[in-house]
Assembly symmetry: C2
Homo-oligomer: 116 residues x 2
Amino acid sequence: MIQRAPAVTSCCPPPRDQADLRPVEGDEAEVELASLAKALSHPARVRIVRILLRKDACVCGDLVDELPLAQSTVSQHLKVLKGAGLIRGEVDGPRVCYCIEPHALRRLRALVGALS
Amino acid sequence: MIQRAPAVTSCCPPPRDQADLRPVEGDEAEVELASLAKALSHPARVRIVRILLRKDACVCGDLVDELPLAQSTVSQHLKVLKGAGLIRGEVDGPRVCYCIEPHALRRLRALVGALS
DNA sequence: CCATCTAATCGTCAAATTACGATGATTCAG
DNA sequence: CTGAATCATCGTAATTTGACGATTAGATGG
């Protein structure tokens, strides 16, 4: 059992809501959807997103405890999610605090929703 | 310019609407979302889905004409989409007629929508 | 039957993905 | 300053992906 300092509440305040005016169709939208889908194309990454959503606040290495993967592997998955813009990481002392990027999820919903 | 016989209208009649009772959370849902996302994790496959949606009816080798890819590559992408359950292919004489599997798209929307 | 057309499959290659342990960088406690 | 803790990065190996040309399998038309 590893002890850790209590989680900081909301080290990643949700950014201001803002409408996304980019189109949901066309070549760019297709590449964008493919990119977001690729980030979610691995069960571990879907799980990370779910954990971050559930905990609402941001966790850091707790993710490693929740996943049956090595720390370096989790770090790689986090990098992929961050690269796609789905999460954000904020340095908080020796830890890094990850949280969902809400507008990226909204964008994903919009793009998937446009597949009608 | 390649001439082809006129497209058959609706060789893939949409199946009966039916509510999907499977949960949108939990391990299975995560694997399912990852699987669907993986199918859409390539721009060519997103494009194929969009084309099939736009044409509403099902096209076959016309997809090859619309994509800057070799026939065998398109066939592979179609196989991936079919494997994920997103499209269906029906043999129509010497051709194969592909169309969207609407309930799979609904399922995808539900799973993505559950990422709240 | 035979030639043709369509689409799937095979074989191949380069590149990307996924996983891990080891190593580095950074921060904090003492 | 030192050591411990946390996390990123590196190096590596196994697997998968994506692309293509060539070939195979079926169906149609003559």
